[in-house]
């Protein structure tokens, strides 16, 4: 899941200041799960913007819509016919959603209301943690499904570093030591033998240095 947090209202207000007719567009997927851009959050932001304008004596019109998914054309198409009625679309989608809207509706001003944060997991109600850097070269199979790139502060492939205390990382006493987890889980699974291997550095060329990545599959194309 892609996580995000709402921008401060002051920043949103500054962005939308020149516009009168605003459509707040949420996304019912990842950002709904992390309670930053779903239907409820669309309602909260729209209400806040309307009340804020009322308090300042400004006349604006703020409407609401939540798409199932803001990064897929078939869902974005629900906005066709609506966008022309607004000066601006204030997106509560992730960065991919904002850019997808802008691709489909060229010439329409699309503004982000969220700061996209990371790929994460809902650890518990109200707690989301980063556990994937989308490196493009997944090694979870060797490390008991604990990503050392993301969850080890030092990104060690051949850990542990020796700095952990009581199973917690020395850089953050709230964060579990990734290598402690890896060793405990491999031990439970009877696969400590995997630790005999020496793992080479990650192949970062799969993530960086070539511009935006893409996946193209002929079998999925029409």
């Amino acid at each position: 899941m892609i996580t995000a947090e709402r921008k401060p209202l002051s920043e949103i207000k500054e962005m939308i200041a020149p516009y009168k007719k605003i459509l707040v567009a949420g996304c019912g997927s990842c950002v709904a799960e992390c309670a930053s851009g779903g239907e409820k959050e669309v309602g909260l932001l729209a209400s806040a913007l309307r009340m804020d304008a009322k308090m300042e004596g400004r006349k604006i019109e703020v409407n609401e819509i939540t798409l199932d998914r803001q990064c897929v054309y078939e869902f974005i198409d629900q906005l066709t016919g609506l966008v022309g009625q607004f000066d601006v679309i204030l997106s509560l989608g992730c960065g991919a959603g904002v850019q997808a809207l802008a691709d489909v509706f060229a010439g329409v001003i699309i503004l982000p209301a969220l700061n996209t944060a990371f790929i994460g997991q809902t650890k518990e109600a109200g707690l989301w943690i980063e556990n994937c850097r989308a490196c493009g070269d997944c090694k979870l199979g060797y490390f008991a499904a604990v990503c050392p790139i993301t969850r080890c502060a030092k990104g060690l492939f051949n850990g542990p570093c020796g700095g952990s205390k009581d199973g917690k990382c020395e850089t953050d006493p709230d964060a579990p030591c990734a290598w402690q987890l890896i060793i405990e889980r491999l031990d439970k699974a009877g696969r400590l033998d995997l630790l005999q291997n020496v793992y080479p550095p990650a192949d970062w060329s799969k993530q960086q240095g070539k511009g935006p990545r893409k996946i193209h599959r002929e079998d999925q194309s029409i």
Partner: protein, 176 residues
């Protein structure tokens, strides 16, 4: 001057476990004050969402109260604890737009307190009016049938598009 005499609009969200006859007990006050008082019984105060509280302010409430069960006495164990956190979140949101956070207030009842919902409402109405009318509420937003607002067409010629319209996933429109 008390809140009733000041003519303030009061919205009360409350856990209906607090008063088994809440449905009947609130009728007299509802008839007397009409749209100036609105009761929203909740199956548990943990059902409250920050959005409910903001919508109440936006659609005309001057003060919004959330009445919850005594600590440790929630029928569903933690509903009142969640209600407290959600109200605090909503307070942060309205503070961001310059509205007094105290316009949203949590009322935690105490063990052994057997007051009915109308008695509690009378107590709240008798409180001193610490705030005037809510400057953020939209005009003409209270007192409409079924809680609806008079909505101005956003674009003349496209009368089905209104301020405050919500389009759901299927494109169906509902008025808020």
């Amino acid at each position: 001057m008390d809140q009733k005499s000041a003519g303030l609009n009061i919205t009360i969200f409350f856990c209906q476990q607090l008063d088994a006859n809440q449905d009947a007990n609130r009728r007299v006050l509802e008839r007397e004050l009409g749209s100036r008082i609105k009761f929203f019984p909740l199956p548990c105060s943990g059902r409250i969402e920050p959005l409910h509280l903001l919508r109440a302010l936006e659609t005309g409430a001057d003060r919004v109260y959330l009445i919850i069960c005594p600590e440790g006495a929630c029928r569903y164990r933690e509903g009142n604890l969640r209600a407290r956190k959600r109200l605090a979140f909503a307070q942060g949101l309205i503070e961001e737009i310059g509205l007094e956070p105290q316009r949203l207030e949590l009322i935690q009842t105490t063990q052994g307190d057997q007051l009915t919902i109308d008695q509690r409402a009378h107590d709240l109405l008798a409180r001193k009016a610490a705030f005037g009318p809510n400057p953020a509420k939209l005009q003409g937003s209270r007192g409409q049938a079924n809680n609806a607002r008079t909505l101005e067409p956003m674009n003349p010629g496209t009368p089905d598009v209104y301020q405050g319209v919500h389009y759901d996933y299927s494109g169906k429109k509902t008025f808020i």
